[in-house]
């Protein structure tokens, strides 16, 4: 960061100096006369141009200096917040993933889902509860199933880069989403949980020989 600021400042100074030299050279080239041959008015005009450049530099260099000081002395955490804000922009509302009625599948039984999603690991590296490490997420969804509501499965594919809800714009483009949705008596989708993201087939890699292990 410091070297970048120094580079910008140096570049600015060099350009200003070059501009001054060019102006003086251009003045003499156009007039084709020596300095003592110029009239008082021409001398004044030439000096005024030079003065304007000096004033311009005098007025603008503090901006560069302020920029350099900010980069140098602003706590690193402020810069990190700034750069994070630039890189992980919040997605617009209309890019958020939503479950639509046409994505819905059959009605599911809560008990059957809990039985089917029990996680078992011989090394005890996951809790032996429905959805394992994601159990809390399941409890949250199950808590949304009020009187008259029912649980349905859903599935849909998303190919656009900004359709995923968790803000990593390069991770989940082109995936098949599937999960569970809580639907109320009026058929409205009250809540949903994506339980599976599967990559859609892509043709990124060129066709080549494949060997089964």
């Amino acid at each position: 960061m410091a070297s970048l600021t120094l580079f910008c400042f140096s570049l600015y100074a060099v350009f200003t100096a070059l501009a001054c030299i060019y102006c003086a050279y251009d003045e003499l080239k156009q007039s084709r006369v020596k300095w003592h041959e110029l009239s008082l008015r021409e001398k004044g005009a030439s000096l005024f141009k030079g003065l304007c450049l000096v004033v311009f530099f005098a007025l603008t260099w503090p901006i560069i200096l302020v920029f350099a000081l900010v980069q140098e002395f602003l706590p690193e955490r402020f810069l990190r917040v700034f750069y994070r804000g630039k890189m992980f922009k919040t997605e617009p509302e209309d890019h958020q993933f939503v479950v639509l009625p046409e994505h819905l599948g059959g009605v599911l039984d809560v008990g059957a889902i809990e039985q089917a999603s029990l996680v078992h690991d011989p090394l005890d590296s996951a809790p032996a509860v429905p959805f394992g490490h994601l159990h809390i997420r399941w409890l949250e969804l199950r808590g949304q199933i009020k009187q008259g509501c029912h649980l349905r499965e859903f599935s849909c594919s998303y190919r656009q880069a900004f359709d995923q809800p968790w803000g990593m714009p390069f991770s989940f483009a082109g995936h098949q989403y599937a999960g569970l949705a809580v639907v109320n008596a009026e058929g409205q989708i009250v809540s949903h949980w994506v339980t599976s993201v599967l990559p859609l087939p892509d043709n990124h890699f060129r066709s080549s020989q494949q060997v089964a292990l």
């Binding site: 690991d121 996951a126 809800p165 990593m168």
Partner: protein, 159 residues
């Protein structure tokens, strides 16, 4: 986007590069992602996870990275226990269904974005709910003898 540093995977005691991010799937399904700190454009995700295939199962066995605390601007080391309380040694990746891509051999064609560079071979493992079901090797070509070996990131900006 800049080429990204890969994850690490241990298979039969040997360390390989893993060009898949199974932990991002977990964050996606959990609906929230820790605020990982990052200071390099070649590691946007902010961490490097170490994975292990043991008895045909995929486990997360380590993670290196820092969590950024927005409220006071400080950072703290991320550990398996901070992400998966009660599981400090090993976490079964039951949430992951998909293919693991483990590049092998020398660099064939460099692409300065994500994990898009091509290597001589790709070792794919088909995983369903954390269990390795099948494996295959895809041969992409033969690189020149002076080509670099292993996963390559040619340039990155640190800030």
């Amino acid at each position: 986007m800049t080429a990204q540093f890969s994850e690490i995977i241990l298979i039969d005691g040997t360390e390989h590069s893993l060009c898949t991010e199974p932990l991002e799937y977990y964050f996606g399904l959990a609906g929230k992602r820790p605020n990982f700190d990052f200071n390099c454009t070649a590691l946007y995700r902010g961490y490097v996870g170490t994975w292990q295939v043991l008895h045909d199962r995929l486990y997360l066995v380590g993670i290196r990275g820092e969590i950024f605390h927005q409220e006071d601007g400080t950072t703290s080391q991320v550990t398996l226990n901070s992400l998966f309380p009660g599981y400090p040694e090993r976490v079964f990746a039951h949430w992951f269904t998909g293919e693991l891509r483990i590049p092998q051999g020398k660099l064939l064609e460099y692409h300065h974005g994500g994990f898009n560079s091509e290597y001589e071979r790709d070792w794919f493992m088909t995983v369903e709910q954390g269990v390795v079901l099948a494996q295959r090797i895809k041969v992409n070509g033969i690189a020149p003898s002076d080509a670099p070996d292993g996963v390559v990131v040619n340039a990155a900006t640190y800030f």
